[in-house]
Symmetry: C2
Subunit: 258 residues, 2 copies
Amino acid sequence: MSAVERRSGAGIQSAERALRILELVGAAPTGLTAAEIAERLGLGQSTAYRLLATLQHEDYLTRQPGEHRYILGRSVDELGRALQVQLVATDPVRAVLRALHDAAHAPAYLTVFRGDDIAVAHIADSPEHPRIGQLHVGFAEASHTTAFGKLMLASRDDAAVARFLEKRGAARLTASSVTDVATLREQLDEVRAQQLAVEVEEYLPKLACIAAPVRSPAGRVVGAVSVSVSAKDLPSRAWELERAVRRGAWQVSARVAG
Amino acid sequence: MSAVERRSGAGIQSAERALRILELVGAAPTGLTAAEIAERLGLGQSTAYRLLATLQHEDYLTRQPGEHRYILGRSVDELGRALQVQLVATDPVRAVLRALHDAAHAPAYLTVFRGDDIAVAHIADSPEHPRIGQLHVGFAEASHTTAFGKLMLASRDDAAVARFLEKRGAARLTASSVTDVATLREQLDEVRAQQLAVEVEEYLPKLACIAAPVRSPAGRVVGAVSVSVSAKDLPSRAWELERAVRRGAWQVSARVAG
DNA sequence: ATGACGATTCGCACATAGTGCGAACGCACC
DNA sequence: GGTGCGTTCGCACTATGTGCGAATCGTCAT
């Protein structure tokens, strides 16, 4: 390896290249040709073709017959499906969320904690009770201003929380966001005690959220079930919603494998 | 490379290994430890760790803080999402399928042709009009016995069809399945002429299916919109269903990008 | 037919990038 | 303070991946 130019990610070069190809192809709605790929990655043609042959052989890429552009293949779908399973987004779990939505008359969410991220695994909503703004199924940064974010942090010990805050900080999103670390710690203690997290206008104005923990059979907190309602409705409905969310989280936990 | 033992897939070794790791981790609901991965793949620990570091760095793998097992990361989700886009499974398209289902009182399907496979991109059904048996969203082998399969074959020239049949054969699934190649070719010609494929009890007994082609802006047939009904209802409803399916396919085509 | 152009494969020489082994390190738990 | 993981490091070796150029194939236009 030359001392002059150092590769960015210190990793297995060809593995990185393979992954980058997948991303590149995925980002192109109609796929890419071998030449385009080689060019954009600065690869010789042989190299590109060999990498592509491997990816195609493993069904991560395919081509329409007669076409020269590569598109994502079925293995990508299989991986995605495997992820869904890991995220607990199975049909019985979806049914629980749907029932929660119907009972609470509010959008219901299933989130799963992954590393320092949160994955929104499923949302049960309706035209009458739509999901929060831009919240969508997929990975999102964890935040100390959301009910499920608090739950995630509460599931960790102080050292881990400190590490998290050091990395991500405690940004202020609304006037009510908690930015003081000491106060946040107190909140997390309360979350641990109640096994429930509540957030009122800390994430988005006028909105409140209640979340209860989902546990693996081993007892580990792996995610959260939550609902969001308008902040002004919260006082009158808190008790009812808490019960509904706790029940939903319990039911999901019972349907979590492994 | 030793002449004695030859590697299976003639490809880039480390890329293959990286992909295999992803599959392995995906297949384990709760993830795997580095040691397990190294062992199952027959890798030295350094090698395994370096591969894992690369995959983690690119966010294809993550770990829960404190945990030693690797799980699928957010990049997998992003890839899967990119595939969904390539499969045209966007919200407006889903809405079209839903409308078709409501109008036709039958389960509606969007399929996308990929290589020699068919991807079921979306299904709009209901408890009253449930989807066909084990049909599910995801990739499936193309078949000459399904309406969308016929449509896919019809979108190809004779040589490509020949190649397909040589590889996959023309199996008999029901008493009505067409297994004679000449007859099949005639059917495909008719499909091309009508821009519509119909199948009656060729795939599953008592079921019939009508499919119309989805076209890219460039005019290429990229998939199909279809509905399935009970075979005995077909005669009385054929005209109505044909109109509905054609309309649905047209609407989807208008919502296909690139 | 002929030629020209893009896509794809092949052959080859080179050395980088990847590999395995063993040892060292860090860390938690006993 | 020791024992048992999980993880990193150092090193020597060469298989593995690489780039270049040329050969081949296929398609389309002339």
